[in-house]
Amino acid sequence: MTDLPPHPGERHPGERRVALEARGLTKLYRMGAVEVAALRGVDVALYAGELAVLLGPSGSGKSTLLNILGGLDVPTGGRVLFDGREITGASERALNRYRRHHVGFVFQFYNLIPSLTARENVALVTEIARDPMPPEEALALVGLAARLDHFPAQLSGGEQQRVAIARAIAKRPDLLLCDEPTGALDSATGILVLDAILRVNRELGTTTALITHNAVIAEVADRVLRFADGRIVETQLNETRRTAAELAW
């Protein structure tokens, strides 16, 4: 795994283990007669316990990459290795197992189940997980210990997103993938949500990848991968990470 060719300009942050790596990823979408390349050869590695931010304008391919890393989509070319095992070309069943046991997702629009309370939304995942934490613990971690029995309709947007984070991390995933988690929130609420993600990353050591087009948010990351036109054009290592409370946008 260490024989991976380093990405141009990439610096190794110490001796950390590689949790997930992608090599030569390409993704073509056929839209009618034209083919659109969403990814044009991406090499990337996520190190265990790090928080990486994927920064770039919309349409730059960052969501496509996240979807492929999370086992939601398959690349046109290239490979994805999780813990040394190849997940590209795996069966639908295997991908499902991969998502169930190893990956936690947080979406821009929360995607909570409206018919279930906060606790039950989290329990939905812990019921099928191998070694989950109790739903109450996950919700306490995101600061919602007091709102366990509220339904999504009774929660604010920020609270709903924090339930979604609790739902994603309750199964103790190896990877936490967040697609614009603050995209639908105002800045103050967004900071609360970001804080929850940082806390999970810090306290549980969950490898986290976070997509945003908000450059300010990148300041909380260990590494920032800048996307443009289907490629990673720049990798930036933050010497000092800022806390969520220090941010403002």
Binding site: S63, N67, G70, L72, D73, R93, N96, R97, R99, R100, H101, V103, F105, F107, Q108, F109, N111, L112, I113, P114, S115, L116, T117, E120, N121, A123, L124, V125, E127, I128, A129, D149, F151, P152, A153, Q154, R167, K171, D179
Partner: protein, 790 residues
């Protein structure tokens, strides 16, 4: 296409996207429309054919039988005001001996005028010619009878006329408007093997039955606008001294009465069945339109922001409904016209018409289209209204997440034991109880229609069981041409093969109660009768009270008579006494509207001495052939009915009509069930695609999310089954009461197995729909649903 507005293009594309659902609704509408068109065109064809047939053959308006009246009386009858034509004739019974048939056959002999053509009830010759004058052995036979025995011109068979054996030669076959429904006296169903109509020269018949210069039957045609009741009253007065049994008009003529009854039943059918299907279609359109408009909120807001008016938007969605309805009506019209033609042809075989007029006018189709489209529009009215009242700004906002709440049940041990997917299913049901109930009700309706259709089979079994098996124990019923002394019982019992014989007396009468009256024979049954006692469909065998009348409920209702009332009885034979008899009991029976009295009491009231009209006989199966052979030679036997043949004929006739209809209804009900189920699941799928995709992303497998989606419809189906059974019972109850006529009451009997069959068919269609929709879950776009709000 270039002239099409963008809005219309949007409409067509949306319909194309929903094509499977559109087809499911259209099929349900088509079922309703097809049933309606089938019933309406069948009624139209039956009425047109009947009218044309009666006109062409000059079917008489008034009929009367008499013992023996002198021919000169004809002139007096013709002088009755309102009478246009009079034709006297001789109508007699005979036992026929067909070479190909062991049992004796009941023949009805009708005279043809010696000179000139028939004035009324003219024959339609189907082959050969009419009997020639002065050829006493020539007969024309009814076509169905000829077909049943493979008779044609040139064939001959034996007959016993008034105890004298003759050989008759067939010279032609014909159909008569008097025997569209050819039924033996006392029979229930046409039995062309055991009953035949023969026409022969008047002189030959007069000679055989000793009726020279006399007649025993007369038929009249009335002038337009004449009062039939007045003519009948005057005719009765003229015929009374000669043994008249009471004149009657067309509506009481047996063949016509059956035919009119059938038309009435078709009319009932045309009201009830399509109503059910169209109600379900309306419900389905509502379901789909509500959902379509809910997901199209943003577009509606946008259209309004562009300046489209409320009217335009309402019309846009109305057009969508009309298009779906239009497809349904078109399919329904094609299927309905085909079914109607087929149905009419079936009737034409059963009711013997020489020709068939199936020329459905536009009325039936227009009516069916209006009713179907109207019900679809009515069903979508609420949904369209909701679209129209949406303020543009609000329409542009995504709908807020539906609010759920924990019910008290959430804290129970039971609730805590549930897993989250199951909790999701239950909460959705409880959150939209009305929607859940309606979806369940739609499924329940299909179960109900199935039960209603399948119930007919149970009912026919129950009817046969009650009437023929529990109620009757004789093997055959023998009717005499004239009253016989009671000693006939003993002489019959001595015949080979006869185990026992039981007498009965039948007295034609008009029963009068206040201003109400009914023609019905009073049957005398001996006390302690074993072979053919009076049988109450609910309580079983009834012990004969020593005196007074036992009325069937139908007759009692007709006369508004109850136990204790005195009826005035105008006897229509012999001395024609007028009696006053008390009603002592009312009983239930499924067939006819009989009246009974104790055998001895009836004879005493008639003051005829101890006489019998006929016998109920029990036969020794082994010696039956010998008995039948002897019976063909016995004089004074007018007819014989075999119980077993009656049952067989009953089932055979039912098989030709009812079973086929049950098949149709089962097919239509399955369509209905598929329509509701498929639409429910598809709507649930489109409402929940995002939720299900989220679950897939969270690591749920296809089967696990299938459970969440299909568990709901599965649960609704289970709820629908008991509800459907209840509704089915109610529908069956309504249908059996709507179908009740003087001839038939259909018992309300539903076997457990019938509920089971209906439930299984409904479950099977749910499983089939679920399997089809489930495949779509394999193609959920996990990425797209997560990225955007719907």
């Amino acid at each position: 296409m270039s002239g099409m507005t963008s809005l219309n293009r949007k409409l067509l594309r949306e319909l194309w996207q929903l094509k499977a659902q559109v087809l499911a609704i259209a099929l349900v509408i088509a079922s309703g429309a097809a049933l309606l068109i089938m019933a309406l065109t069948t009624i139209e064809a039956l009425e047109q054919t009947t009218t044309a047939y009666y006109e062409r053959t000059r079917f008489a308006d008034v009929f009367a039988e008499v013992k023996r009246a002198p021919e000169r009386l004809a002139r007096e009858i013709a002088a009755i005001p309102g009478v246009r034509l009079v034709e006297t004739r001789i109508v007699e019974g005979a036992i026929l001996d067909l070479p190909d048939f062991d049992e004796p056959v009941v023949g009805r002999l009708i005279s043809l005028p010696e000179q000139g053509p028939q004035l009324l009830n003219t024959l339609v010759l189907r082959s050969g010619r009419l009997a020639a004058p002065n050829r006493p052995d020539e007969v024309v036979v009814s076509e169905p009878f000829a077909e049943a025995h493979r008779l044609g011109p040139g064939d001959s068979f034996g007959a016993v006329l008034r105890g004298r054996r003759r050989t008759l030669h067939v010279v032609g076959t014909a159909l008569s408007p008097e025997f569209v429904y050819a039924i033996a006296p006392g029979g229930l169903m046409p039995d062309d093997q055991r009953f035949g109509v023969l026409w022969m020269g008047r002189d030959a018949l007069a000679a055989a039955f000793d009726l020279k210069e006399s007649f025993d039957s007369v038929t009249l045609a009335l002038l337009r606008g004449a009062d039939a009741r007045d003519v009948i009253a005057r005719l009765d007065v003229l015929l009374a001294p000669y043994g008249g049994t009471g004149a009657y008009d067309r509506s009481d003529q047996i063949s016509n009465w059956f035919l009119q009854n059938e038309i009435v039943q078709q009319k009932n059918l045309s009201r009830l069945m399509p109503t059910i299907f169209l109600a379900v279609a309306a419900f389905l359109t509502n379901m789909v339109m509500t959902r379509l408009i809910a997901t199209g909120r943003r577009e509606i807001g946008l259209l309004k922001a562009f300046g489209y008016g409320d009217g335009t938007i309402a019309w846009h969605y109305a057009k969508m409904v009309l298009l779906i309805g239009g497809i349904g009506v078109l399919l329904g019209a094609l299927v309905g016209a085909w079914l109607g033609h087929w149905n009419t042809r079936l009737y034409a075989e059963f009711y013997r018409f020489p020709f068939l007029l199936y020329r459905p006018g536009p009325t039936s189709f227009v009516a069916a289209a209006l009713v179907s489209l109207g019900s679809a529009l009515a069903g979508s009215l609420l949904a369209v209204r909701r679209a129209v009242v949406l303020p543009p700004a609000e329409a542009m906002l995504p709908p807020s997440p539906p609010s759920y709440r924990r019910s008290r049940l959430s804290d129970t041990v039971f609730a805590r034991a549930l897993d989250e997917p199951t909790r999701m299913i239950l909460r959705r049901l409880l959150r939209w109880p009305l929607r859940s109930f309606l979806a369940s009700a739609g499924l329940a309706l299909s179960v109900a229609v199935l039960i209603m259709a399948l119930q007919w089979l149970d009912a026919v079994d129950a009817l046969v069981d009650s009437y023929f098996v529990e109620g009757q124990h004789q093997d055959a019923t023998v009717a005499f041409t004239d009253l016989q002394p009671i000693a006939a019982v003993g002489s019959f019992e001595r015949l080979p093969g006869v185990l026992s014989a039981e007498p009965y007396r039948s007295v034609p009468a008009r029963l009068v109660h206040g201003h109400l009256s009914a023609r019905e024979a009073i049957t005398g049954v001996p006390a302690g009768a074993i072979l053919s006692p009076v049988h109450d469909a609910r309580r079983g065998r009834i012990e004969m009270p020593p005196d007074g009348l036992l009325l069937s409920r139908t007759l009692a209702d007709l006369l508004q008579a109850k136990v204790g009332d005195q009826l005035s009885v105008e006897v229509l034979e012999g001395r024609r006494p007028r009696l006053r008899l008390p009603v002592v009991r009312i009983f239930d029976t499924y067939i006819g509207k009989p009246a009974y009295m104790e055998f001895g009491a009836l004879n005493r009231a008639m003051r005829d001495g101890r006489v019998v009209s006929g016998l109920q006989v029990a036969l020794d199966g082994a010696a039956q052939a010998v008995f039948l052979k002897r019976l063909k030679e016995i004089p004074d036997v007018a007819g014989i009915l075999f119980r077993q043949a009656g049952i067989a004929k009953f089932y055979e006739t039912m098989g030709e009509t009812m079973f086929i209809f049950v098949g149709f209804f089962v097919a239509f009900a399955a369509t209905l069930s598929v329509g509701v189920t498929y639409n429910s699941i598809r709507i649930a799928l489109s409402e929940r695609a995002r939720e299900l995709a989220t679950l897939r992303v969270l690591g749920f497998s296809r089967w696990e999310i299938s459970y969440i989606l299909l568990g709901e419809i599965g649960l609704l189906t289970w709820l629908a089954i008991p509800l459907g059974c209840l509704l089915g019972f109610a529908l069956a109850w309504y249908l059996t009461s709507a179908f009740g006529s003087e001839l038939f009451r259909v018992p309300l009997v539903i076997l457990d197995a019938t509920y089971g069959k209906a439930a299984l068919i409904a479950l099977a269609s749910t499983v089939a729909c679920a399997a089809v929709v489930r495949r779509r879950l394999d193609h959920l776009d996990l990425i797209a649903v997560l990225k955007t709000r719907e």
